[in-house]
């Protein structure tokens, strides 16, 4: 790892939010971390710890107030909204806890959507979307309307959408939060399988038994990284 360039680098990242009284609240107090290609990292922390803020920055949904965020060696800290949107489209694959899919359209249309924004042609979009659905073992639901499938199936489709653009990282924010134990295990197994195939996965969770599947656990408390260790199973 020492000879490889990190895929993700946060260098002394601070994030401040303005308060109503004109003061600022500092959610992150200058955190630094590196994530390498092929890692499976869990970021844990209690509510208000700054883990969501960290996720927003890692996912290019927000930019640091100070410090640097380098993705594949490029500093995206000062990117414009449109540039960040492009980063999200090409380099980040999101899986959220809930409301993962666009309603009223099919599963296939959902998986194709990021490719549409990237300007990929329709036939190529369909081919790659079907490949992704097959990878997550839900290709038979391609023509189903997204509201008409189960919670576990929704998460599978979200994962298919997350991998379809071959992003730098798959960023999953509490992906099993709304699922029962059985479905949670299936989804985590899928992440593990994707990681074994070489995908870089960053999982935000407050559940220790979910985090236990990752190879590295980073703990954030009160805006600081308090531990960052390889997890021995």
């Amino acid at each position: 790892m020492a000879n490889r360039e990190p895929l993700i680098q946060l260098e002394n990242v601070k994030k401040c939010f303005p308060l109503a009284d004109g003061e600022f609240y500092e959610a992150l107090h200058g955190i630094s971390l590196e994530i390498y290609e092929g890692e499976f990292v869990a970021i844990m922390g209690p509510s208000g710890s700054g883990k969501s803020t960290t996720m927003h920055i890692l996912g290019a949904l927000d930019v640091p107030s100070s410090g640097h965020y380098k993705l594949r060696g490029k500093d995206i800290s000062l990117y414009t909204n449109d540039q960040l949107a492009e980063v999200r489209n090409r380099e980040i694959g999101f899986v959220f806890q809930s409301f993962n899919l666009l309603p009223r359209i099919t599963v296939l249309d959902n998986v194709e959507r990021p490719m549409m924004y990237a300007g990929i042609k329709p036939t190529e979009r369909t081919r790659r979307a079907m490949e992704a659905l097959e990878r997550v073992e839900i290709a038979d639901k391609a023509e189903n309307i997204s509201n008409h499938i189960s919670g576990g199936q929704i998460q599978r489709v979200a994962i298919a959408r997350a991998i379809v653009m071959n992003p730098a990282i798959i960023l999953a924010d509490e992906p099993t939060g709304n699922l029962d134990t059985k479905m949670s295990e299936e989804i985590v197994a899928l992440f593990t399988s994707l990681n074994k195939a070489g995908r870089t996965i960053v999982l935000i969770t407050h559940e220790p038994d979910i985090a236990a599947h990752a190879k590295r656990i980073i703990r954030i408390v009160d805006g600081n990284i308090v531990s960052d260790a390889i997890h021995k199973k």
Binding site: L61, D62, A85, F96, F99, R113, P114, M165
Partner: protein, 379 residues
């Protein structure tokens, strides 16, 4: 969307009805021909109704005998009076027109039976009468020729020499319900005066009819010894003028309804904007998700603007279908031509799309500018 539908429907409907009315009137006026104009006494409609005596047989003789205005083809005098008709156990009142033979070239009636009034009958002041079709039916029944039959008109006996009719609504309205006598007989036996209610003049060349009208006006003013500052004591109107007036009135009415429809479209547009704003609020998390997977501001803007345009476009198409259907029904009921103006339809389509863009842009921009984090976290 209802406001858009109503606005577009009313524009298409009134435009079609207006065009149909103009086409109907053009057709009717062409039954008279555009190669003639009429002179009536009085400087305005009211003075004519009040019985102005400004036109007389002298004026007719002057115009008929004039050789300087070379475009004049025929000069035809008209006099009229109310008469009582009695015959075949039927009695009724009717309007009687005193005419010369050349009136047939102006009125262009269909001769159902017999013949029209002749110059010889006028010269000899013969007690002959030509009946309008409805008058003939009233006194002699349908499918029966009343030629050579007799009628008492104001207690004098007249011989029927012909029956005329007109399928034109304008011409038929007066022609079918009137009777025609030689002008000398009407003036002598019925009205007792030489005042004329109308002089019709046909021309060789309709293209220079306006110049001919001016020349006739000059001649009559001279004949009536009017000074330069005096108003004309007669009115001249051509069929072309009547058509232009009709077109002007129709255009004004159409513009007025278009303006009212414009208000309806604005109301409809505001409704569309409100629906879109509600939609943006309800779909906030969806917008957050779209931004998370890479949608730029312009992608969101385009999507919502497109939805707004589709909504108003559908409203516009519905309005066009309803407008055309309504215009068809009206044309059937009013017996006017059914005309669909393609430019009006295209304009309606354009306007409904424009309303969609205009009133959709604000909600679309609101959606596009949402912060992805705020949108994703929206409850």
């Amino acid at each position: 969307m209802l406001g858009v539908i109503i606005g577009i429907t009313s524009v298409i409907l009134i435009y079609s009805i207006g065009q149909g009315a103009v086409a109907f009137i053009t057709n009717e006026l062409s039954s008279f021909g555009t190669d003639y104009f009429q002179i009536n006494p009085g400087s305005n409609q009211m003075s004519a109704i009040a019985g102005s005596n400004a036109l007389s047989m002298e004026d007719y003789e002057t115009l008929k005998g004039d050789t300087s205005i070379t475009n004049i083809k025929e000069v035809s005098p008209f006099s009229m009076g109310s008469v009582n008709i009695d015959g075949n156990d039927v009695e009724d009142d009717a309007l009687a027109y005193g005419v010369a033979q050349n009136a047939i070239d102006i009125l262009r009636p269909d001769i159902t039976y017999g013949e029209f009034i002749t110059d010889e009958q006028d010269l000899n002041s013969e007690h002959v009468v030509v009946l309008g079709e409805e008058v003939a039916k009233k006194f002699f029944g349908e499918e029966t020729s009343p030629v050579e039959e007799s009628l008492n008109i104001n207690n004098r006996t007249y011989r029927v020499v012909g029956v005329v009719s007109s399928s034109s609504v304008l011409a038929g309205g007066f022609l079918n319900n009137a009777i025609f006598l030689p002008i000398s007989v009407l003036q002598d036996q019925i009205t007792g005066e030489e005042a004329l209610q109308e002089i019709d003049i046909s021309v060789h060349d309709p293209e220079i009819i306006n110049q001919t009208i001016e020349d006739v006006k000059t001649l009559l003013r001279e004949e009536h010894q009017l000074k330069e500052d005096d108003e004309d004591d007669f009115r001249i109107q051509s069929a072309k003028d009547m058509l232009e007036t009709t077109k002007t009135i129709t255009s004004l009415l159409t513009a007025m309804v278009a303006a009212i429809s414009g208000i309806s479209l604005v109301v409809g547009g505001v409704g569309v904007m409100n629906i879109m704003l509600v939609s943006v609020t309800e779909r906030t998390r969806e917008i957050g998700l779209l931004k998370a997977i890479g949608a730029k501001e312009r992608d969101i803007l385009t999507q919502f603007l497109f939805e707004s345009i589709v909504m108003t476009f559908i409203g516009g198409l519905t309005g066009i279908v309803l407008g055309i259907s309504g215009a068809f029904l009206v044309s059937v009921v009013l017996h006017i031509p059914f005309i669909v103006s393609i430019p009006a339809v295209l304009l309606a389509v354009g306007v409904s799309a424009a309303v969609g863009i205009l009133f959709g842009i604000y909600p679309a921009r609101r959606a596009a500018r949402l912060s992805p984090i705020d949108a994703l976290q929206y409850q």
